[in-house]
Symmetry: C2
Subunit: 195 residues, 2 copies
């Protein structure tokens, strides 16, 4: 069999996403990642230089993915509620990114390296919101950056404190998820409503 360096790296990354998302930086072991990827752990150190570095790498990858999966141009033409609903869906279908983000927020806050790329992604969202304000489609009573963040919070908090969600709204059956999603959409519209 021929060498498959890229394939090996990719398998390590995939395993790392899954493990880190599930167990967090501290709960994850390099050994288990290597095992899941079907390689020796030395490969992980050699390719990615340790746990912390690997974590950053996969988080960056996932951020790029979500930027492609839930794009937005301008809230002058796109509905904020729809957008919030799509974000909710993404969190539900692909919990990895949001979990990684929250692990990072808890474990690594204040020492997050290389914020340039993510900052650009969020800048786009914020600009889309500004655009909506300038065209009168979105309220000006909340600054665009804050409003963007708050819309994301409506979609994200559910997975951040699932125990609380469960105690307040009941177990997340398929039907309950639909209700939650509808609430998020409606709430985002109410938040951004123009006059």
């Amino acid at each position: 069999m021929a060498w498959d360096t890229e394939g090996t790296k990719r398998r390590i990354r995939e395993a790392a996403v899954s493990e880190f998302a599930r167990f967090g930086p501290d709960g994850t072991t390099i050994e288990r990642i290597a095992g899941a990827a079907g390689v020796n752990k030395e490969r992980v150190y050699n390719y990615f230089g340790g746990k912390r570095s690997l974590f950053s790498t996969v988080l960056r990858d996932e951020l790029a993915k979500v930027a492609r999966a839930v794009p937005v141009e301008s809230f002058a033409t796109e509905d904020v509620g729809d957008y919030a609903g799509r974000v909710y869906d993404y969190h539900r279908e692909r919990p990895e990114l949001t979990r990684l983000l929250r692990w990072e927020g808890l474990a690594f806050d204040g020492e997050v390296p290389d914020e340039e790329l993510p900052r650009r992604y969020y800048g786009y969202k914020s600009a889309a919101m500004s655009d909506g304000q300038e065209h009168g489609a979105v309220t000006r009573s909340i600054d665009a950056d804050h409003l963007t963040f708050l819309v994301l919070s409506l979609a994200g908090w559910w997975s951040a404190v699932p125990q609380v969600a469960r105690m307040l709204a009941g177990p997340p059956t398929e039907q309950e998820h639909a209700r939650r999603r509808a609430a998020v959409v409606e709430a985002a519209r109410r938040l951004a409503r123009s006059p």
Copy 2:
């Protein structure tokens, strides 16, 4: 010096809150808790029966604290925006509870024991929201339980993903915190606004 069993337990609990909130269940060691409390780690095992059990205990304690610190009777008479602002303040001044909740959400979801007490606390909030709806002070377009949760999300997401907040809205100076708080208050009012 006389025995001070209660004092010892209390010091362990206090140290545990601080350590768990900062480092999470996996990042925290019983040894460090014991060290910070000035006792031997055997005391921790003897009094609290292990790491997981201690975590639950201190989380329960903190939940009881917040229920007393940010009370609410009915949103028929109290303003939802003010309430959201106070929750934001609490998260800012006492980050322990919200961090513990989020660690639990990430590390222990699905295996949270003894939900009865917390469920009651959240039931009160939800009832206060229902009351607001019945008196026409709060919109009926979102169910009370979901609306309650969404208001909490506005106040909570900031600390859940501080990196994201920073990238969108800038570093959390005193002034920026004031802006964020104002945005939360305004957003909660828009969410709940009646007609």
